[in-house]
Symmetry: D2
Subunit: 259 residues, 4 copies
């Protein structure tokens, strides 16, 4: 039976600051990327978020980022591959402890923000992240970009023996070559929940999506990323579930799809 | 066969800053309290320190502290018990990942600085720390003060089912009631390595130590704390080993003594 | 002509996190307490907030706090008076630079959160804060609590030659002795904007407020504190202005009232 | 009368961590670049460092850096020019307050580490820094690299009306085109204090220095940077003073040379 995973960034609140609509969105997704206290999140937020995921049968992933709360991990920091490996181990280890407390296994690791992009562009950083994940637990899944830009990172992981979940962005326009239309460009972001759900459905059933130029392109994705802090976030994740069910597809946890 | 554990704070360097003489002291101790990046230490320092401990057959413990690098965790922060529990889980979990990487189990948790004292004075904070340790791994040992001031925390741990290692300070003067002479007072700190080694020997063999007032007092300790950043640190830890061996005693890991 | 100052905490956003309704509240107050990046705020937020104050003719004050973003400065940190002096100088100096940039003088300093309370309870900390303010600029006004609990800090400032603005909380219930009813207690917080405005009016015209027990008590205040993050914040600050005007009173900057 | 300024990074200690030999080096330099708490330094260290500079008649400069204590400000952080402007204003303002306390004017601003290099390579960041300095105090001097790599930043400052001090590194080898030999290369760092002093003397008297290839190249510098954390730091700064005096040259504050 075919299916797809829906992942969403969760646990991005910090101390007095609240971000995202975690409790409303959580019931409708399959994998939660939980911030680990470096670019967002704090131990109390991590605890609540893992508990919420466990209650909803949602698989937990670590969402490690650069040590840059001020910039929300969205700014590249030119750190060495060796330091990066340790930064990832630290953050993933911290989250693992909360998973252990709540009796739910850690499923995956998805680098956050500027780090997500850095590993796509720099093989050495990619290896540094993959190495960290393997050293913490070789059974974890690493999430990286579906399409041509993510091929290098996928290969690195395969070589090193690490499972990869390829991720598509159904609320983002794609070029004909399978790359994302840059955020600044016209039409780069698709806001209509119905359309995003339809694109998710197409990714799940046909491994394809319609490019901005009109043609249908192949894009093999295990998981789609949705955003939890938009006004339509809850409507969207609900809609995705309905759209898939109508066609005999289903939401599945990424670990089931990558093994 | 009788024995005692020797523990020392390790891994207190941070980024560009070096503190302590870890590589020289490590070969002579049995348990290392490794800072977890909140009051001192960083992921790269943690990695190096756990590797060094593993190479030297030294058992690793977590040394969590308040989120106060500026004050080195030596200043009481009035945080809630619930938050404190999560702070401990976070830090211990992060260190556990480095232990896993280096194939060495985590042995113990010793609260650092102001937190060490806070749990002695506030039962609710004591329970918060014990709960955190149990939630991460009920097989861990918690280190707390030997003598009357540590009795409450020891009881809490026993009630909750957590192993406790009682800790003495052979380089500190004791009052006749088994409490420590406060740091500011005359003669509070004993600097002569020979004398500190002799006091360690007395603690290991006889469960006793000479008080500042002259009488010998009973003090049951599983481990003694030595300081790794003094000029005589290396001489001291060597001397302790020799003193014990001369009398058929030996250095033992605290987990062997508390089970 | 009689009047009173209305102060409000501003600039408490941080990086990706937004807190408060600064742009809506600013037009209706006279003094803004601007967070300085330690318990809340960041340089870009400080810049925007000072600019917004200057545009609205609102006097700027520094709102320094403990180095505890995670706890929003609401947790007592047991730091030394000497360190505290330097922490205040640092934060006030940083804000002064933004005031200079926007051509508006710094008017006052109001310690934030746990620090606000710490100086009321510990004279040494009170002197440490007063000393810092004097060293940065002896023309600044220090804001502290009106009523018996603030008398010690007021005296310290007077002795040291520092102007004080005494502050009342019109949305908080008062005991008959002029102390605040603790937050946890029933009726401690008054939510009706009309009533809060009426109490502000009474403070401005008669130097008095009705206690929870019914009697009218004397309370001499130069400024009232309003909260900018409640649903009724905007309605409240508007209402205060109207209430005062109706009676020929006016909103005045605290520096005009304390000199 | 000819002369040159000698600047040195100071105040890089943090909380429990000590770095550099500030008190020994300070008597022999003319300008101190004081860390502002972001990449190094803290308020108490800043206070002590400014006091020490004032006692020794040394001019104080701000040494702002990226918000990266863990990386000591040596790693490029991809922040926006607007944010960078505010980061500089914040740090310079904080230091100014300590200068005011100790009755010594702030003389200059020298970006630290990765930020020093970033402004040489990216004009927009250069303008962002220059703008910050002008907004805090247009009378400040900005320190940047002498030679071809610093020309763009010097031009930006001139255009914007900001005084520039061009800085040479007498302990670094130069290429024939006036650029520095990269640190990794053989012979890149000159360790002999006598030779470094001789090179400083040549820079002061003749506006020239011998390149690694042997020829004498022109290099107009107002100030030379020395490093305060090397074993020979004190000997070096003493030697520079002697070498200059022997030839009727003298140590001068950079502000005297740039006006």
């Amino acid at each position: 039976m075919r299916g797809i995973d829906v992942n969403c960034d969760m646990g991005e609140s910090f101390g007095p600051y609240t971000l995202g609509r975690d409790s409303e969105v959580m019931p409708h997704i399959t994998s939660a990327n939980v911030a680990c206290g470096w670019h967002a999140g704090d131990p109390s937020v991590m605890d609540r978020t893992v508990a919420l995921a466990a209650q909803n049968g949602v698989s937990v992933g670590a969402h490690p980022g650069y040590p840059d709360l001020l910039g929300f991990g969205r700014r590249k920091l030119d750190c060495s591959p060796d330091d990066l490996t340790q930064y990832i181990i630290y953050q993933v280890g911290a989250l693992q402890a909360f998973c252990h407390k709540h009796g739910t296994p850690l499923q995956h690791v998805k680098p956050h923000g500027a780090l997500y992009h850095a590993v796509l562009e720099d093989e050495e950083l990619g290896r540094a992240v993959a190495r960290a994940v393997l050293q913490v637990d070789p059974g974890l899944v690493l999430v990286t970009l579906a399409g041509p830009k993510g091929e290098s990172m996928s290969s690195i992981c395969r070589e090193m023996g690490l499972d990869v979940a390829r991720e598509a962005f159904p609320d983002r326009a794609y070029n004909a070559d399978g790359t994302l239309v840059p955020r600044g460009s016209r039409g780069a972001v698709i806001e209509d929940p119905q359309e995003v759900a339809a694109r998710t459905h197409s990714l799940a059933r046909d491994n394809s999506v319609r490019a901005a130029s009109g043609e249908t392109i192949e894009l093999e994705a295990h998981t789609v990323c949705v955003h939890g802090d938009t006004p339509t976030a809850v409507e969207l994740v609900r809609e995705i579930g309905h759209r898939l069910q109508d066609d005999g597809l289903q939401l599945r946890h990424m670990a089931q799809l990558t093994n």
